[in-house]
C-alpha cells in the first residue's frame, strides 16, 4: 500500500514537471548516410534541416527538437533493421531519410506499416510517391521522373528528332529515362536507342562507340557522382561533345563540376534548383548556410531545409501533437512551402509540384537559363490517395 502511494506520488511529480516544461521534446530520427559514397549528401541534408530548426529557435510547433541519428550506409540490406531501431528502440516521433532510393523504399514500407511520419529529403524513386504513397509519407525533393520529363520538353523544343539515351540499369536511371521519353516522344521526337550499363560500372568506352556509330542528334543521360564525372570526361575525350550535344538530369553536373573541369562547360541539365537563382529567399538561405557551416549550400541542403519546413508547418497546425496524423498531413498538403528553390506545394501523392529549371554549366556553377517546366507535378502513378 505504501509502495503504491509512493509510486503515485512519484508519477504526479513527474507529470507536473513535464507540464511545467510544456510538451516533451520531439524526437526526430535522422536516417542518413554518414559513410560511403553519399556521405557528403547526408551531411548537406542534415545541415539544411538543422539550419531551419535553429532559425526557429530549436523548436517546431512549440516542441523542442531532439535528434537521433543512424548511419544508413546507403545499404538497402540494413535499411529495415535501421528504421526499426529508430522506431522501436528510440521511439522517434518523425523519420527523416534518405539519399539512396533502395533504402528510402524500405523506410517507406516501415513508415506505411507503423504510421510514423516520414519525410524523404532526397531519394527520387518514383514509387515513394507512387504505389508506396501514404498519408504520412512526404517528399521534399523530387521524383526521378520530373527532371527527365522537363528535359524531354526542352530537347524537343530545341528541334532534336533522334536521340540516344544512356544510363545505369537501375531504378533511378530507368525512371529518369522513362520520364524523358514520355515528354520527348509526346512532342514528336524519337528515342532511337536506349543504352545502359550495370550499376555502378563506369567503363563507358564501348557504349560511346555505339553512340558515335548511330550518330543521333543528341544524347540524354542520367548519371550521378563518380560515374557522372567519368562519363562527362569520357564523352569529351571521345570527341563526341563537339558533334553530338549532351543533355542530362541535373545530377550529371551537381557537386561534380570541380572534378569535371572544362569538359562540363556548356552542358545543359534540368533540376529543381540552380546556382544564383537570385530570389530573396534563396539569397538569405545561402548566406545563413554559409555563415553557419562555412560551406556553400547545394540542392541537398535545400531539400533538408525544406523537409524541416514541411515538418514545422505540420507540427504548427497540430500544436506539436504528432498523433493527430490526418490534420498534420492536411496542413502540409494545403501549405505553400517557401523554399529557396522557389515556393512549392505538394501533389496529391505528396511529391513537390515545382518549377524545373534549365541550367547551363559555366565555370564552376550551374547557371540558371530559364524555367524548363513550370509547376511540374509528378503523375504519381499507382498512388491511391
Amino acid at each position: 500500500m505504501k509502495l503504491k502511494t509512493l509510486a503515485l506520488a512519484a508519477a504526479l511529480v513527474a507529470a507536473s514537471t513535464a507540464h511545467a516544461q510544456g510538451l516533451p521534446k520531439l524526437k526526430v530520427g535522422l536516417m542518413l548516410p554518414a559513410t560511403g559514397t553519399y556521405a557528403a549528401l547526408g551531411t548537406a541534408i542534415e545541415n539544411g534541416f538543422r539550419l531551419y530548426v535553429n532559425e526557429q529557435g530549436g523548436k517546431l510547433g512549440g516542441r523542442e527538437i531532439e535528434f537521433v541519428k543512424v548511419d544508413d550506409e546507403s545499404d538497402p540490406a540494413k535499411a529495415t533493421d535501421n528504421v526499426n531501431k529508430l522506431i522501436k528502440r528510440d521511439n522517434v516521433d518523425v523519420l527523416v531519410g534518405t539519399v539512396h532510393s533502395g533504402v528510402a523504399m524500405a523506410m517507406a514500407k516501415v513508415a506505411k506499416d507503423t504510421g510514423t511520419l516520414l519525410l524523404v529529403p532526397n531519394a527520387g524513386a518514383d514509387a515513394v510517391t507512387g504505389p508506396m504513397c501514404a498519408q504520412n509519407i512526404f517528399r521534399s525533393s523530387f521524383s526521378n521522373w520530373q527532371p527527365g520529363y522537363a528535359m524531354g520538353e526542352v530537347m524537343a523544343k530545341k528541334g532534336h528528332k533522334n536521340v540516344v539515351t544512356i544510363t545505369w540499369k537501375y531504378a533511378a536511371g530507368d525512371e529518369s529515362v522513362r520520364g524523358f521519353k514520355e515528354a520527348f516522344e509526346k512532342a514528336g521526337g524519337k528515342v532511337v536507342k536506349e543504352l545502359s550499363l550495370p550499376f555502378p560500372n563506369v567503363e563507358f568506352q564501348a557504349l560511346l562507340t555505339e553512340i558515335a556509330a548511330s550518330k543521333p542528334d543528341a544524347v540524354y543521360t542520367f548519371f550521378a557522382g563518380g560515374g557522372a564525372v567519368k562519363f562527362v570526361k569520357d564523352y569529351a575525350a571521345a570527341g563526341l561533345k563537339k558533334s553530338i550535344p549532351l543533355y542530362g538530369a541535373g545530377f550529371l553536373t551537381d557537386g561534380t563540376l570541380e572534378a569535371q573541369g572544362a569538359d562540363a562547360d556548356g552542358l545543359l541539365t534540368t533540376l529543381h534548383y540552380a546556382d544564383a537563382l537570385g530570389n530573396p529567399k534563396d539569397n538569405a538561405f545561402r548566406l545563413a548556410y554559409a555563415k553557419a557551416f562555412k560551406l556553400q549550400p547545394d540542392v541537398y541542403a535545400v531539400q533538408g531545409y525544406d523537409a524541416a519546413q514541411m515538418l514545422g508547418i505540420g507540427l504548427a497546425a497540430v500544436k506539436g501533437d504528432v498523433s493527430k496524423k490526418a490534420e498534420l498531413a492536411a496542413a502540409i498538403e494545403k501549405a505553400k512551402i517557401d523554399s529557396p528553390r522557389g515556393a512549392f506545394s505538394v501533389s496529391k501523392s505528396h511529391n513537390p509540384v515545382q518549377d524545373i529549371y534549365l541550367r547551363q554549366v559555366s565555370g564552376k556553377e550551374n547557371k540558371l537559363v530559364n524555367v524548363a517546366s513550370k509547376a511540374l507535378a509528378d503523375p504519381g502513378r499507382g498512388c491511391k490517395l
Binding site: 559513410t35 560511403g36 559514397t37 556521405a39 557528403a40 540499369k169 543504352l195 545502359s196 550499363l197 550495370p198 555502378p200 560500372n201 563506369v202 567503363e203 568506352q205 564501348a206 557504349l207 560511346l208 562507340t209 555505339e210 558515335a212 556509330a213 550518330k215 557522382g225 563518380g226 557522372a228 564525372v229 567519368k230 570526361k233 575525350a237 571521345a238 570527341g239 563526341l240 558533334s243 553530338i244 557537386g255 561534380t256 570541380e258 572534378a259 569535371q260 573541369g261
Partner: protein, 293 residues
Amino acid sequence: MDLATFLIQCLNSLQYGLLLFLVASGLTLIFGIMGVINLAHGSFYMIGAYMAFALAPAVAATFGGGFFAVLVVGTVLAVLLGYLLEWAFFSFLYEREHLQQVLMTYGLILVFEELRSLAVGDDVHGVQPPDILAGTLPLGDVMTYPVYRLFVSGVCLLLALGMWFVFTRTRLGMMIRAGSTNREMVQSLGIDIKFLYRVVFAAGVAIAVLAGMVAAPVSSVYPGMGNTVLIICFVVVVIGGIGSIRGALLAALLIGVVDTFGKVFVPQAAGVLVYVLMALILLWKPDGLFKAA
C-alpha cells in the same frame, strides 16, 4: 555493326582488358603467389588514385615536376606502406585460415575508407593527365581516342613483361616461386623467407597503388572506388589460374572482350556475362586457365 565500328570496339576491349590487368596485377602477386586473400587490394588501388589527386600540389611544390614525379613519389610511399603493413599485420596471416585473412583484410578496407574520408573528404575529384599525353587521336569520322588511354595500355604491357621476367628469369623470382610452394623447405635452405615475403608484399601494394595513380585520370577519383574494382580483380586472378601472370593477362583480355561486346549486344545481361564466363572456364578448367607449376 560495320567493320570500322567493330574494329574500334576491338580496340576498346583490348584497352579495357589491359586496364584490368594493370589493376589486378598486384593481386596476382599477393593472392596468386603469396596465397593471402587480400580484400584490401581495392583499398590500395583507391589509395593510389587519391595520391595522384592529393599529392600533386605537394610534389609540385617540393620537387617540381608534374604527373610523373607524383608517380615516382607515390610508388616510393606505397613500398613503405606495404612494407609496414606486412610487418604489422600480414606476417601473422600466412599460417592462418582463410577466414581470418578475410576478416583482417576486410577490417583494413573499413580503416582505409575512413582515413580517406578524414584526410581528403568525400567529394569526387578529377585528375588531369600530363600535358604531353592530354591530346586525342582521330578515330573514324566522329570519334577521337585519348592518347592517355594508349599510355595506360603501354604501362600495363611493360608491367606484365617486367613481372613475367622477374618471376621466370631471375633468381629472386625463383626464390619467390619456391617459397609459395613450400615455405619451410625454402627457409631450411638458408633463404630469409620473411624478408622475401615482405618485399613481395611491398611490391604487390606498390603495383596496386601505381595502378590507381595511372588509372586516376581515366577513372576519376571517388569514394568507394576500390570496392568496385576488387571483385573484378579476383575474377581475373581466378580465371587466369592462381599464381600465373600469363594467365592473369589472358584472363583480363578475355574479360575485356566479353564485357565490351556484352554491353553492345546483350545490354540486359551485361552485368552477369563476366561471371558466366568465369563459371564456364572453371567448369572446363577448375584451376583456371594456367595453373602455376
